[in-house]
Structures are given as structure tokens and as C-alpha cells.
């Protein structure tokens, strides 16, 4: 598409005026008259049989209306489905009830719910619900969970093994036979708590007059929530409206369907009054999904030149106590196929064991599978470089897929990368980071006993999900197309209805930019509507960096369709042939007589007027188009990040001296928003490398259940970030865009870990598992010295 005034411009966001003045429309802000509030009673033990639940004292609390146990709720609520049933993996789905019956399986598992006239009364009464629990042994570690003799979570899932997924491409045995060096490493990709600043919330109402339900909910995908909640509650899909207005961050955690959202709907049906639930931060940490949590064993075969020939990866993926909505696909489908990353690696084999444990369910968290793959690979690149005594930059440069080889089929499963120019982004990043200069600085510093390290991370990620046929073949419950309606009103103002559901990513602005450019109308005349299932066609929502490439692609195509019709109308009005018209900046004019023209606004009015001199015979009135866009391929953004750190040899503390990110997400619609996504992504990737870690003790108590214990970085921990980009458009996307929501998170973690290990390389430290807390770094330094 032609890049005109708004496409590519740093347009200030349309969503901001309401958000900076306190008028954000977050779910927890809703208070309807007559509301009943619910509070869940959650297990404080990781694994126990529920003998009985005594609600009698709770019922006596002033203001309490009802206390319901899991058993009470079985009449009306079904199981929470697992919507990604990966084939060929002997997948065992788990009975996952909105409120536990018979057994609790993790600390935070709800087993009763209090309904009261105020949130305080509900919380008071929850304290008085007594459960007679028969404690059972717990297991939290994914490797231990799948060993014979481990405590069993389910009778129907032997050895807690939810699935074993394998993929292989190329001749791995031959690669290892040819290898001149083999590096092996066990790595832990830590468990993380997504920590959107807004916790989850849900308000359900029932309207007796229309016999319909409305659920206001913190959701990344309202239509998917409507479908799955309809299955759980039995409320037919057309009787349920899901509204998700402003959402205070998601990072994956608000994709999934959880019990409480189903419970409030059920209670609205039972009591016929509004029902409200707002999650506390402790509940959020205990029972909203966690992310990552792999134990990975990797072996890489390479030549002395640094050429990597093959990879073998075995990963124990912790799935938590229940298989959440998309859980099985995250450590498998979104992990294994991306293991060769931006490198031409001839042979890759991967095995992933999904382990059920007495911990919170684990599902998609920003990056979802790709950070885990990139971490393996980028650590391997450094380990190979170390083994052969070469600069890690040179090893990467030697292995990149060259530009001429696109579209490129990547091992192990032959997924087709759409376009890429990895070496160019890589060189740009090294140059901006002053890589050679820092290598010299590092040498000088070492002579003075100072520890400086430089870490590189090159990545390619898969997003723009996705072609429905490919996605369905992996067992995903629905296709991953997206929808758009572009509706031009009689006055020429435009409402765009998108199936995406941005919650911070700024598409109310970027989508308005696309439409304003395409139709030649002022951006003020374009309103983007999302997050209401009654207003928009079925849409798949916002996650996986898919909104701009897929939902944005749908909008671009819908604009084209609007313009095709507008051209017919303009030609009729001007009494010329369609091909005699030129459309430019919102006007159709006659090529040979430019003074003869109709604006898009005039055409819109004519489309609704539908008079004889307005509409050609046979053309329907109105000016709008609906598009369901199913992309022909995924998109593959890429880039290179470079981190320079200094490690304090006395304390082990890590300080980031410089951080450079060069990312290529194809065409950029709004570079200001792209940079914002990169900044935030890097902060989360850095957090995993240096600070955050969701920790369970051996009995299954979450030790990081508050923001005192779970170390989300503050402004003091995130450094200034230098961003730049290259532009390699996606050849198949209508806008040439690829998506940028997760890139920063994917790239940053290995960049920082590699930097710290680079700082310690001359001491003989090969690997430290994340988070690189001062204590761990110091132990590694001391261990290396004494060893």
C-alpha cells in the first residue's frame, strides 16, 4: 500500500484523553444498583481431598446472601474446556471445574463462593468457611512430577503426564555424527506471573425483559470468552453479550477462561441481580495463569568454524494443576517449530513433556513459547562460541539464514518464514551498541578487576496468527482469522468495528490511521469500536502480536471494498466510467477533467440517499463492508538486541550500561507506538532475566504471592533503551506489517543473561539459571574461583 500522510506517522493516541483524565472504562469501575458481590474461598493447601465444607458460620455474617460449594455449583456449571488439543501427543485433558469438587489441586484453587451485599461482607464470610481437607502429598517440580512414584494429581493421568509432543526435521543423528564440538546444557526457563496492573474482574447482569445476559469482563478476546462461557454455563451464545471496555493490561493472562467469570454469570441467572467479582492481587498471583516454567535439556552439534549443524531439545513444561484454555499448545506448537530461530540449522529434534503439578495453571504469557525457544537458542549460540573460542557475534553472523533464501522453511517442521534480512538488523544493532568499542572496554576493565559483559540476542518470532488451516491442524479450537466492519455513515463519518481487542497496544489509533489514509477522511472522523460482542462480528481478539497484521489486514481489505463501491457510485454520479476516475485524498475525480469530482462524503450521502441520480441501477444502498480475513501465512518479525552490563564482583549486582534494540516488524503504522511496545516488552524480558521468579516451596505454597515478593521492576531497574529498526515488509500481508507486541520480551531475556555470563566468561562461569539475582551471580563467581 502507498505510504501516505498518516501511515507511518507518530500520531498521538486517540485512547489517551479518557485514560489521562480518569475516565477509563475498566470493569471494576462498574457498580450497578442492587449488585451482589462474590468472594471465592480458596485452598491454602496445595493438594487435598475435600471431605466436607461447612458454610454455616459464614451464612450468619450480616449481609451474606448465600455460600455455595463446588458441589452446589455442579448444577448449572460444566467443565472449563481446554481449547488447544494438540494432536499426536496422547493428550490427557483434566477435569477442570469452575469451583473445585472432591479435590483441591493447588494453593488458590477455589472450593466455595460467598455471595453478599457488600464486598467487605463477602470477604468476611469467606474467612469463616471451614473446609475439612485431607492433605495429600504435593509435587511442584515438572521433572519430578512425571517420575514414577510422584504424588498423582488425577487417577486418569498416569505419571502426571498430560502429553508428550515430539517433532523432528533433518537428520539429527548425522548432524551429531559430523559435529566437531557438542555443547550440552540444562536450563531453567523460570515461572513468571504476568502481573497486568489491573487484576481480573467480572460483572454479570441479567435482563428479564430481553431474557439476555451481559458479562462485563477483563478480556483480551470477548467473543472467545462468550463462546467458552456459553459452553460452561449453558447460556446460549445469542443470549449472552460480552463487553470488555478498557482493559488494564493482559500479557496473555486475560485470554484464558477461568472459573470466576462463569460463576458470576451463573449467579446472575440464579439471583437475577447484578453480580460482581474483583480479583485481589493475591488471588491474581495465586490463580490467574502463570507463564513459562520449562526445564530444558539442550544439545547442539557444531563445527569448529562455529557453524551449528543440529539441535536436540527435551523440555519438561510445567502445566500446573489444570490444563488451561490454550495451555497444551504454548510449550509445544509455539515453541518447537521456532527452535532454529533466525539460523540455518539443518537438523532439529524436540520432545516436550507436559507435566501436571500442584501449582497454578500455566498458559500463554507475553511471547508464549517463543521466548522459551529463543532463550535456548541464544544461550546455545553463546555456548558454542565459548567452546570454540570465537566471538559470539561472529558465530551468529555465520549461521543466519541469508536474505536470498526467503521464503525459508525452518527446521524442525518446515514452517515458512515470510521475509527477513537478519544480518542487516544484526549489523545495525552492533553498530549502534558500539560493539567493538565495548569489547575493548571489556578488556581494559578486566585488567582493573571490573566485570563488563556484552550480550547479543537475535530472534525471529512467529505471529500474525494465523492461517486457520495451519492453526486448526495443530488442534486449536477455532481458526485464527479476524473480522472488520468499515461503516461509512451518511455524513461521511466512519465507524470501524474490529475483532481485535486492544488493551494498551493503541489500535484505536493505528486502525484509525489506516482507515483515514485509505478513505481519505480526517482521523477525527474515524472511531474504532472493539470489545462488545453485540456490536462487532465474531473476532478472535488481541494476543500473539496478531492484532495489527490480522485484524488490521481485515480493515485494510474492508476499506478496499468500500472504495470499490464508492467508485461505482461516483462514476454514476459523474457520468463517467469507473476507470476514468482517480481516487486521491478522499476525492474521486475524472482523470481528464479533474474539476469534475465527488468527495467520499458526497458519495456516502448518495449511497444512503439511493436516488436515481445517486445510485447506479441494481446497486444496493449503504456504504460499508464486512471482511473476515484469514491470512495466507504467519508473519515473522525479527531483530537483534544488544545489552551491555557491569557486574559488581563484590555483591554480584548487575547494572545495565547500555541497551540497544533493532527490530523489524515490517511497515510501521505508528513508530511511536511501535517503540512503546518494544520498551515495555524489553522491561518484561529484563524482569525475567534479572528479577522476577514465581516460586513455590516444595509443599506448593506460592512464596511470591504479593508484589513485595514478586519483583516487578520499578523505574529504577529499567534502563534507557535505544531503539532503531529495519523495514522488511511481510510480502503477503495487506499492510506489509508483521506485529511487534512480544518482540521485546522475546529478545531481552537472553540478551541480558548472555551479557552477564559474558562478563563472567574469563572466570570460567558457563551458565547461571535465571533470575540472575546478586546472590546467584556471586555464588557463581565464588564457585568458579574456588573450582
Amino acid at each position: 500500500m502507498a505510504v501516505t500522510k498518516l501511515f507511518g506517522a507518530r500520531v498521538k493516541r486517540k485512547e489517551d484523553p479518557r485514560l489521562i483524565t480518569g475516565k477509563g472504562r475498566y470493569t471494576a469501575n462498574l457498580n450497578f444498583p442492587g449488585t451482589l458481590y462474590v468472594h471465592f474461598v480458596r485452598s491454602r493447601v496445595a493438594h487435598a481431598r475435600i471431605r466436607s465444607v461447612d458454610v454455616s458460620r459464614a451464612l450468619k455474617v450480616d449481609g451474606v446472601v448465600a455460600v455455595l460449594t463446588g458441589e452446589d455449583l455442579m448444577d448449572g456449571l460444566g467443565m472449563i474446556p481446554t481449547a488447544w488439543q494438540i494432536p499426536g501427543s496422547d493428550l490427557r485433558t483434566t477435569p477442570y471445574r469452575p469451583v473445585a469438587v472432591d479435590k483441591v489441586r493447588y494453593v488458590g484453587d477455589p472450593y466455595a463462593v460467598v455471595v453478599a451485599r457488600s464486598p467487605y461482607a463477602a470477604a468476611d464470610a469467606a474467612e469463616l468457611v471451614r473446609a475439612d481437607l485431607e492433605p495429600l502429598p504435593a509435587v511442584v517440580d515438572p521433572e519430578k512430577a512425571v517420575q514414577p512414584g510422584a504424588p498423582q494429581l488425577y487417577d486418569e493421568v498416569p505419571n502426571n503426564t498430560a502429553f508428550v509432543w515430539r517433532a523432528s526435521g533433518g537428520d539429527v543423528d548425522e548432524a551429531f555424527a559430523r559435529a566437531e564440538v557438542v555443547v550440552k546444557q540444562r536450563m531453567v526457563n523460570t515461572r513468571l506471573q504476568p502481573t497486568a496492573m489491573e487484576t481480573r474482574a467480572a460483572v454479570a447482569t441479567y435482563d428479564r425483559f430481553s431474557d439476555r445476559f451481559t458479562l462485563y469482563v477483563t478480556s483480551q478476546n470477548p467473543h472467545v470468552h462468550r463462546l467458552l462461557l456459553s459452553l460452561i454455563t449453558g447460556i446460549p451464545e445469542h443470549k449472552l453479550r460480552v463487553i470488555s471496555a478498557d482493559v488494564g493490561g493482559g500479557f496473555g493472562s486475560k485470554i484464558h477462561v477461568y472459573g470466576p467469570e462463569a460463576v458470576v454469570l451463573h449467579l446472575a441467572r440464579k439471583f437475577e441481580v447484578p453480580i460482581k467479582w474483583v480479583e485481589t492481587r493475591e488471588e491474581n498471583f495465586l490463580s490467574t495463569i502463570h507463564g513459562r516454567d520449562h526445564v530444558q535439556y539442550v544439545e547442539a552439534a557444531a563445527l569448529r568454524s562455529g557453524k551449528v549443524l543440529g539441535l536436540k531439545v527435551r523440555s519438561y513444561a510445567n502445566m500446573g494443576a489444570y490444563l488451561s484454555t490454550a495451555a497444551p499448545g504454548i510449550p509445544t506448537i509455539l515453541f518447537g517449530p521456532m527452535l532454529s530461530g533466525p539460523y540455518e540449522i539443518g537438523a532439529v529434534s524436540v520432545e516436550v513433556i507436559g507435566a501436571l503439578t500442584n501449582t497454578a495453571p500455566v498458559d500463554a504469557y507475553r511471547g508464549a513459547g517463543r521466548p522459551e525457544a529463543t532463550y535456548v537458542l541464544e544461550r546455545v549460540m553463546d555456548l558454542v562460541a565459548r567452546e570454540i573460542g570465537k566471538d559470539p557475534a561472529d558465530v551468529r553472523a555465520l549461521n543466519f539464514v541469508p536474505k536470498e533464501k526467503f521464503p525459508y522453511q525452518a527446521k524442525p517442521i518446515g514452517i515458512t518464514y515470510d521475509s527477513g534480512d537478519y544480518i542487516t538488523a544484526f549489523r545495525k544493532a552492533l553498530e549502534l551498541a558500539e560493539y567493538r568499542k565495548w569489547r575493548e572496554e571489556q578488556e581494559k576493565a578486566r585488567r582493573k578487576g571490573r566485570l563488563i559483559g556484552i550480550g547479543i540476542s537475535s530472534y525471529v518470532e512467529i505471529c500474525g496468527m494465523g492461517p486457520s488451516a495451519a492453526v486448526r491442524a495443530t488442534g486449536f479450537g477455532l481458526g485464527l482469522w479476524d473480522s472488520a466492519v468499515v461503516r461509512v455513515h451518511p455524513s461521511g463519518k466512519v465507524t470501524v468495528y474490529t475483532g481485535g481487542h486492544p488493551h494498551g497496544q493503541g489500535e484505536e489509533t493505528t486502525f484509525a490511521q489506516i482507515v483515514a489514509d485509505k478513505l481519505g477522511v480526517p482521523i477525527e472522523d474515524v472511531e474504532v469500536v472493539h470489545g462488545d460482542t453485540d456490536a462487532i462480528p465474531f473476532g478472535m481478539g488481541t494476543y500473539g502480536s496478531r492484532t495489527t497484521p490480522v485484524a488490521g489486514g481485515a480493515i485494510a481489505l474492508a476499506c478496499n471494498r468500500v472504495l470499490e463501491k464508492a467508485r461505482k457510485i461516483a462514476a454514476h454520479m459523474l457520468e463517467v466510467r469507473e476507470e476514468d476516475l482517480v481516487f486521491e485524498r478522499g476525492r474521486f475525480y475524472v482523470r481528464e477533467a479533474p474539476e469534475k469530482q465527488k468527495t467520499i462524503q458526497e458519495v456516502a450521502y448518495a449511497a444512503y440517499g439511493a436516488g436515481a441520480n445517486e445510485l447506479p441501477p441494481g446497486l444496493e444502498p449503504g456504504l460499508e463492508a464486512t471482511v473476515f480475513y484469514d491470512p495466507p501465512n504467519f508473519t515473522f518479525p525479527f531483530g537483534t538486541h544488544v545489552a551491555v552490563v557491569e557486574v559488581d564482583p563484590e555483591t554480584g549486582a548487575v547494572k545495565v550500561l547500555r541497551y540497544v534494540a533493532v527490530d523489524d516488524c515490517g511497515n510501521q503504522i505508528n513508530p511511536m507506538i511501535v517503540e512503546g511496545q518494544i520498551h515495555g516488552g524489553i522491561a518484561q524480558g529484563l524482569a525475567q532475566a534479572l528479577y522476577e521468579w514465581a516460586v513455590y516451596d516444595e509443599n506448593g505454597n506460592l512464596l511470591t504471592s504479593t508484589l513485595n515478593d514478586y519483583l516487578v521492576p520499578t523505574a529504577c531497574e529499567v534502563p534507557d533503551i535505544v531503539t532503531d529498526h529495519t523495514v522488511t515488509p511481510s510480502p503477503h500481508n495487506p499492510l506489509g506489517v508483521k506485529g511487534i507486541g512480544e518482540a521485546g520480551t522475546i529478545a531481552a531475556t537472553p540478551a541480558l543473561v548472555n551479557a552477564v555470563l559474558d562478563a563472567l566468561s574469563h572466570l570460567g562461569v558457563k551458565h547461571i539459571d535465571m533470575p540472575l539475582w546478586p546472590e546467584r551471580v556471586l555464588r557463581a563467581i565464588k564457585g568458579a574461583k574456588s573450582g
Binding site: T21, G22, R130, F251, G504, M672, G676, A715
Partner: protein, 187 residues
């Protein structure tokens, strides 16, 4: 052993609540006088949101770490405006105090310099931490009108943002500080 401890925890939590008589309070918020009868244990943030109905003040945690609930307050410890986390106070502690929330920052339809700067510099994404972040920044600028970037970072370190990586927030506060100094009026 540990298992038994966990069971004891379940039992220990089974204590009764102690409902208390309501107490009258008067609070001035964004220039408007409010008087209500509240439970002594009602948190100030719940009072602002659920009783007064100003939902621009958000709640992001239950341990006073996140700062989403930050408001400006004066009158309870002297006549100086201070940024406070409204989840750390009971509503009864605000009796007789004045409070400014995010809704009270724009004057006659004109955005406050911090609001403008946050918009201009793309210092917000989901917007959830933004009201608290802006008020924390304002409280900080009141104490330090001409801060360095490092000082800004420390000044807002009681407020968490999960979206922006703080890069643009720091820039926005720096720009707003300049405008506030030039205007000579911080509010």
C-alpha cells in the same frame, strides 16, 4: 510437618469479623465537600471509588506496592500537599482533609502539564497505572521541581507500570517539570 502447619493455617483463619458502628466524615475532593457515614475499616481508596464514585483512582494490589491508588492529600499532617497511596489509609483518617484525584487535575477543560506530557510522549499504554503515576509524579515535582532523570526514576519508584518500561514516563515527567517551572504553577 509442613502439611500440618498448612491445615492449622486453614483453621486459624476461621475467626469472626468485628462489625463496627459507622463514623461520620467530611472530605473535600477536587474542591467538592462530601460528608458520609463510613465503617471505620473502610479504606480511603474504596471510599473514593465506591462511595464518592470517582473511579479514576485505581487499585492494583493489596500490599501498597503498586501505587495505582495514589492521590494528593493535605490537611491531616499539616498544610502541605503530599502524594499518598489511598489504600494505605482508612477513610476516617481523611476526615477534614482535602484530596485531589485524577478527575480534579484538568482545569476548565485544559489538561494539566503532566496529563499533556503523558499524552504527548506516549507515557501510557493500558492506562491503568496512569492516574496514580501522574499524581505520584506531581507530588514528587512539588518536592523537587527540577529533577534529573535519575531523580525522576527514584521519585516514581513507588509506582509500578507493566506496559511502558517507564522510558516514556520519565521523558514525560521531565517535559512536564519544565512546563510547570515555566508556568510557575504546579497545579
Amino acid at each position: 510437618m509442613a502439611r500440618r502447619a498448612a491445615v492449622r493455617t486453614v483453621q486459624r483463619r476461621a475467626r469472626g469479623p468485628v462489625p463496627q458502628a459507622k463514623v461520620p466524615i467530611r472530605v473535600k475532593i477536587n474542591g467538592v465537600e462530601y460528608s458520609h457515614e463510613v465503617e471505620p475499616r473502610l479504606l480511603l481508596v474504596h471510599y473514593i471509588r465506591d462511595v464518592v464514585g470517582l473511579t479514576g483512582t485505581h487499585i492494583g494490589c493489596d500490599t501498597s506496592n503498586c501505587g495505582a491508588c495514589t492521590v494528593l492529600m493535605k490537611g491531616t499532617w499539616g498544610n502541605e500537599w503530599r502524594a499518598v497511596k489511598s489504600c494505605t489509609l482508612y477513610a476516617v483518617q481523611a476526615d477534614g482533609a482535602e484530596i485531589i484525584t485524577i478527575e480534579g487535575l484538568a482545569k476548565n477543560g485544559e489538561l494539566h502539564p503532566l496529563q499533556k506530557a503523558f499524552w504527548e510522549h506516549h507515557a501510557l499504554q493500558c492506562g491503568y497505572c496512569t492516574p496514580g503515576m501522574i499524581l505520584a509524579a506531581l507530588g514528587f515535582l512539588k518536592l523537587n521541581p527540577n529533577p534529573t532523570r535519575e531523580e525522576i526514576r527514584k521519585g516514581i519508584s513507588g509506582n509500578l507500570c507493566r506496559c511502558t518500561g517507564y522510558v516514556n514516563i520519565v521523558k514525560a515527567i521531565e517535559a512536564a517539570a519544565k512546563e510547570i517551572r515555566e508556568k510557575g504553577s504546579w497545579i
